[in-house]
Symmetry: C2
Subunit: 196 residues, 2 copies
DNA sequence: CTTTTATTTAACAATTTTGTTAAACAAAAT
DNA sequence: ATTTTGTTTAACAAAATTGTTAAATAAAAG
């Protein structure tokens, strides 16, 4: 079976990903996606049958990629602190490129159906939570419900990037200055999470 | 001029607010809004002329209310720590009722135009940032760029509530257990923000 | 009681968005 | 060179969504 593979399929998928997750245009039409990709709108149906299926494809791929990288960090044979540093870097990189990915997931659960989050495996997270608990016994971390530790980590990483457009206005800072601030986040977050 | 004032206008506005900000249905149609409010769709046009104008009305009102309450906290004649506690309570209450409000703002800036965030006054925030700086000199707070302090505060408050549906799945916890966790956030956040 | 005015509704029209069909095109296989 | 197969496109159809008009309803004013 000779596939010509003109790259159009991935082009459409990557373009949709950019519009949805990077630019936050959650209700981009098929026409807008096709235009941004520079292809005819019919190609979109040729490869994905419908708008919803394109959306699903983009979504599953992105979530799988991210949760894969995160699980890799969490399950690695490294000291706890190193794992956290890895997680911060992976997550920060992803959130910088695609700040609206998780927001999108959460607000689209109604539309797309819960199967999207149902097949997110809870096991790697649970193992990691156990490890967090151990660190609390060691005194490396404040003794709180381990879930709070993870929520704190994700919050400190994600929220500033989601709110970037608002913060630039609110704090009257340039795009450059904002990037600088984000560059400082890793150290700030580490200091907040670990009791020195 | 005798206004009958049947309450329909506010009913529509409150219903739209609920759908948009509480349930996260950012692209609810006029029909869905009308149905949820139990009125004819034409009433929606009668009071607001178009979908966009309804959206704008809902938006401006919500943002004004929230920023008003926040400015009140920040400008109050109270000790710094008390102000932060007030802010946490105000914000936590608002985010619990309407978790998607800020997300909505940020992702709709493209569509609704930047005038929505342009008339958010930066002054109260700037005054407060100065105060934060003073606290850092006093040693009450870790010495970092003051903007980080505020980003940390807002992140720790908002993100867990935005991600609630995802977290309940990821951490395998009930709605009740999740509410309990949120109830513990104030103390957790205070501990993280202040160097004891 | 009648008139006026605000509100609500049904019916219709216009626009936008999605989806389908069939034809045109281009590269590989025979 | 011709056939086959995969890809792209234009034209068309269907559905969903918004917006308008005019009639029906009901409450207040005269």
């Amino acid at each position: 079976m000779p596939l010509k593979n003109t790259g159009t399929e991935t082009l459409i998928k990557e373009t949709a990903k950019r519009l949805f997750f990077a630019e936050g245009k959650l209700h981009a039409t098929t026409q807008e996606i096709a235009d941004a990709a520079g292809v005819n709108r019919t190609s979109l149906h040729y490869y994905f049958r419908s708008r919803d299926l394109l959306l699903e494809a983009v979504f599953k791929e992105a979530m799988q990629a991210l949760s894969g990288r995160m699980n890799e960090c969490m399950a690695a044979e490294k000291p706890f602190r190193q794992k956290i540093e890895d997680l911060i870097e992976v997550f920060l990189k992803d959130m910088t490129a695609f700040p609206y990915q998780e927001t999108f997931l959460v607000t689209e659960i109604n539309t797309l159906g819960k199967e999207l989050i149902e097949n997110i495996k809870a096991e790697p997270i649970n193992n990691f939570l156990t490890e967090v608990k151990e660190e609390m016994h060691n005194g490396t971390l404040e003794k709180i419900e381990p879930i709070h530790f993870l929520m704190n980590l994700f919050s400190l990483l994600s929220y500033p990037l989601i709110m970037a457009p608002l913060y630039r206005q609110l704090f009257q800072i340039s795009e450059k200055k904002f990037s600088e601030l984000i560059g400082q986040r890793k150290e700030i977050i580490l200091k907040m999470l670990f009791t020195e």
